[in-house]
Symmetry: C2
């Protein structure tokens, strides 16, 4: 196990909304969280940013599909370097909704799931809050 | 923006508990999720695995400290390659609790936060569920 007592002091700086959106757009995948009946769940998904919203696909029969609809969700991307222990993270919070056929037709870009199988549900998280932090050398 | 229509079909395989624990121990940082009053939150933390539990530190005055105590939490680690689009993820779910001084004294390893400042609260998530998946070429 790595020596976790040897570390570089770092401090957190806030990222503005533009920087957060750029990091969200640059990232190919992130993690979605929702609150199930027995607590939170975090799952990796590949996403796209469309008009400032987070869009990803899932299968219709998943717990995610059952529990995320019409509830508030979170979406997160980050990047860390374990050696230097610096990095960044961006958190999006907002309601999640399924896109219907008409809305899908209007979108010119939809995420293609990395995993095989039918992932017919397209989920959109409309951010009510976007926050980000960067860990920089102190 | 990357061409997201060109991708490699992949399939998900389940990881057993031993593989999940190994990936949790190898990872220096992950993400904790909790359900706040206005929906889920995902935050990066550096962690250690102690006796099969996830242990990390936070500051006493954070929303995390306020909302995670005695509630169910989730902790997640993953690793992905955006070029090959293969990777893995591990999800831990369970109740979160603060460690008291007696319990801290018994632990021989405590995570040192990467970020500066007082992070005096030590949080332990006792897994009631550990699941993991690996995305492999189909």
């Amino acid at each position: 196990m790595a020596d976790r007592t040897h570390w570089f002091p770092a401090r957190l700086t806030e990222l503005d909304r533009a920087a957060c959106l750029e990091l969200l757009e640059r990232s190919e995948a992130g993690r979605v969280a929702y609150c199930g009946t027995d607590g939170p769940v975090i799952l990796p998904v590949n996403h796209v940013v469309v008009g400032g919203d987070i869009v990803f696909r899932t299968a219709a029969y998943t717990a995610l599909a059952r529990d995320i609809r019409r509830h508030r969700a979170a979406f997160q991307v980050d990047g860390f370097d374990a050696d230097t222990r610096i990095g960044w993270s961006v958190l999006v919070r907002g309601p999640a909704e399924f896109l219907d056929a008409a809305e899908l037709a209007r979108l010119d870009l939809r995420p293609t799931p990395w995993v095989e199988g039918q992932r017919t549900l397209v989920v959109r998280i409309r951010p009510t809050e976007i926050t980000g932090r960067r860990l920089v050398p102190a």
